[in-house]
Chain length 174, copies 2
DNA sequence: TATATTTGTGTAACCAGTTACTTAAATTGA
DNA sequence: TCAATTTAAGTAACTGGTTACACAAATATA
């Protein structure tokens, strides 16, 4: 039992200790923690949905009908990622597809009647979840703004490009 | 070619537009972007290492010898995650293991001679990478501090717990 | 001392993304 | 008009994490 107490001692977070080097892993660690916790929430509440589906629901409520490509552009996800999400939602009966008459390559996606019926219930969870994010950000008033700046920088020139440039500069100053 | 220009029009980021709701997905999107860009960097430079290995290298330089469990506690990764990383590093000849004499369950991990020999080269890339993160954070002076606050909050009570509580409060105030 | 519990590692199956490739349809342009 | 190019969607294989489970070794306990 004494052992048990020793286990509980707070361990300083190594990834935080190493500062800039640990940031990438911390981003993944936090994103994973949120993801798995959300999945657990839905599972424990018997909800038949998955974490990212709210994004699709919101888009298809706003736009009535969209294609895979349109959604992947909006979310800035790769299109195979969207295909996977949509296939699951189709299997669950929340989304249906029909081939576009004008352009037979395009799949027109819409919410099903079942989806519309269940939306009010889902909304309750999404609202509570949004409140959770607001709570988490409460003491971090600059976070969203500064996070956006980082995203923009990465979009403008990615990690690889920047690091190669830094590498070259290091060599030159030797 | 006119089409091409239309494609380049800046699309407002939907995940940013929906504010709090989009944050989780944005965290994953950024973390993935950094991960894949790092992999590409190593690949294009012909380096025989992968993104997270620097963490193991740092730990094993500091501590000489560690076990799977010690590393997973330090990084706050699940132990199977560490097993996977270490297996790859063993296969690449950067890490070797021997069973502990005192406790035959424990695997003692150490860096190989090859690892020590290559470290100076790797360090150059890691230094340039650290500089990249510093550059990305340049206009976000509060980011690390506020990110830490969020991590601590999630550690203290996770997304599921918080959201269930918010849900209950919403019901009560109805 | 014998049994129950805990601990360290390993394995399997899953998850939400990715890149690379394929195929068919639409569009472009010589 | 017909061949070349582009675009939309789908598929395969991979990635770096996760949880759940198994098992042997060590430790605690009755």
């Amino acid at each position: 039992m004494c052992n048990q107490l020793l286990k509980l001692k707070i361990m300083k977070d190594f990834l935080t200790e190493i500062e800039f080097v640990g940031l990438t892993s911390r981003l993944k660690r936090l994103s994973d923690a949120l993801l798995y916790s959300t999945k657990e929430l839905y599972k424990s509440e018997g909800l038949d949905i998955e974490p990212n589906w709210n994004l699709i629901f919101i888009l298809l409520q706003e736009n009535e009908a969209m294609t895979i490509t349109e959604i992947s552009e909006k979310l800035q996800f790769s299109h195979p990622a969207v295909v996977k999400i949509i296939n699951k939602m189709k299997k669950n009966g929340h989304v249906e597809t029909k081939t576009d008459d004008q352009d037979k390559r395009r799949q027109i996606l819409t919410l099903t009647e079942k989806a519309h019926r269940q939306l009010p219930l889902f909304e309750k969870y999404w609202t509570a979840g949004r409140q959770t994010v607001m709570d988490l950000l409460e003491d971090s008033p600059n976070f969203l703004e500064e996070f956006l700046k980082i995203e923009e920088k990465v979009n403008q020139s990615d990690y690889k490009e920047r690091t190669l440039k830094n590498l070259k500069n290091d060599k030159l100053s030797n």
